[in-house]
Amino acid sequence: MNTITLSFIDWLIILVYFVAVIGIGYYLKKFMGTKEDFFEAGRRNSAWVAGIAFVSANLGALEILGWTGGTMKYGMFVSHFYWIGAIPAMLFLGIYMMPFYYSSKIHSIPGYLLLRFDEKTRILNGISFAIMTILMSGINLYLMALVFYVILGWNLNLSIWISAAVIGVYITFGGLLSAIFTEIIQFFLIWFGLFLVSVLGIVELGGLGNILNTLPQRMSGLWSTAANASSNEMGVTWVGIVLGLGFVLSFGYWTTDFLLVQRAFSAKNLDSARKTPIYASFFKMALPFIVVVGGLVAWKLQDMGQIKLLSHPITGGEWNDTALPVLIARYFPTGLAGLGITALLAGFMAGQAGNVSAFNTVFTYDIYRALFKKDATDEHLIYVGRVITVVGVFLSILTAYAAMRFNTIMDYIQAIFSWVNAPLFATMLLGMFWARCTSAGAFWGLILGMASSFGMFIGINFGWINAAVLTFSNQPSDMGNNMWRAWWAWLICFVATIVISLFTKPKPREELVGLVKGLTAESASIEEPWYKRPAFIAVVALAILIALNVYFW
């Protein structure tokens, strides 16, 4: 059963989007003269452009549909992923970590690992990141095709190939700058295309207060139900939220995932790079007004028997991820329906483009140049970047078809984040803030952290390890398991890195200048008035974060 029928004008709106992204890619092609142009967008973006691209790179449709559906299951707890699970890490990145990243003129996160530690640590992270991005891109591609097949009846193969081809074309033309331009367009489309769903839902249901007051207690609080794991739908206490999500998962993702940090590298100077994640934090904080409010509206309407979610084409059960498209069908007439679908389409495509542009940079610099051609010229690297973009798109398509065959692959993909990013955060933290941290400590700590996270995942899934031992809860959800596993993986990597470092030889301090706190000249925005400085803007963001948490306690 298709939910939404598109008219001629709706199709015209979708066409405008496709023509715009390919046209922009073509327009940008002539500005791609050096490798910095192609892989770092020429380091010419303002903090606003880089900031919106930063938050948009994380704002794939997978995230929007997934968390709107997730709200129907977990309620207000989903806001933790947008607030405590994002904002402190983004501000930390801007204030403390960006000076080391940006000033060292690296092209990628593995590039930092090379300068701070050694080649093998860089290649270990480069390969794991490249695999992760391609898997994510393919899964995204598959889910996009699946969503559009269910809600619009579009052909699965056609959706996969057309969207992959469009992404391949515009990234090949304009590199990172194309991806960033498309992310800005996507940002506008998501707000204009989807925020109205929440507004109309609130109007129909008589106000946000009315919706919140009628939610079951297990779903209505942020912290008021976090004292006991059995009091909320996520099955996790505030300790798990703060340590697992707020600290390890969040910091691991927002401060070390190159897909995001690459956007800040495109900023025109250090000051703009520092402001990139700080500006982005304001937009991130606002997103629950689309995602969580949309999910609450869908929950309420379903509870009243007013809407029916679509069935998952493989499992046959109710598919929570279709909540937002069902609401689009309920509220959006012709024109708006096309806009809503375009917003989802843009979200999916920008999500994949982000993965592909990060993949081509890491592959070109940290795998190809490091292993095969250390003396490559700019022209050669751009050529390799373009070729590998096409290869990356094809690999994404293959992953998409693999995902069709393996129904549960998405669960494993989520787990990969905690295998790769959680231990990496411990390595980066020690690398940036502890000069005594050694290359051997970082490499073996990272290996132990990744292996232990993988081991815990396998152990819990095969019943060899009792999840309650790791999570301190008798009924942890998958999400609760992820949070605690990330915490333990981080801790193991952190402790192992320290212990091994104490028994091995550190790099001379003069080699660490610009890479470690205390040995790096800090940037002070002395030319700007106090209210424009990163630290002050970060304090404002923190104050809003606290106010939101208190208000929705």
Binding site: I9, I13, I24, R44, F181, I185, F188, T334
Partner: protein, 74 residues
């Protein structure tokens, strides 16, 4: 290359073009529906969301176009 780089239009200009075109189309659809003998029956259709939301989008787009016309990224 330098002269070409000076001519790079800002992304806000492109965002303006997209918002203007899409806003106009959303508004157009709403106006057609307003005069249609068989108007659509979406929930809250009486509020004509396409009309005012399309207008808002169109205005935002025009604003971005005017503000960023001729601006280039150095």
């Amino acid at each position: 290359m330098a002269d070409k780089k000076e001519g790079l239009k800002t992304i806000w200009y492109f965002a303006g073009i997209v918002l203007t075109l899409m806003g106009a189309l959303v508004m157009l659809a709403a106006i057609i529906d307003l005069f249609s003998s068989t108007p659509q029956k979406t929930v809250l259709a009486n509020l004509h969301p396409g009309l005012w939301w399309g207008a808002l989008m169109l205005l935002t787009g025009i604003l971005y176009l005017i503000k960023n016309r001729g601006k280039v990224v150095k």
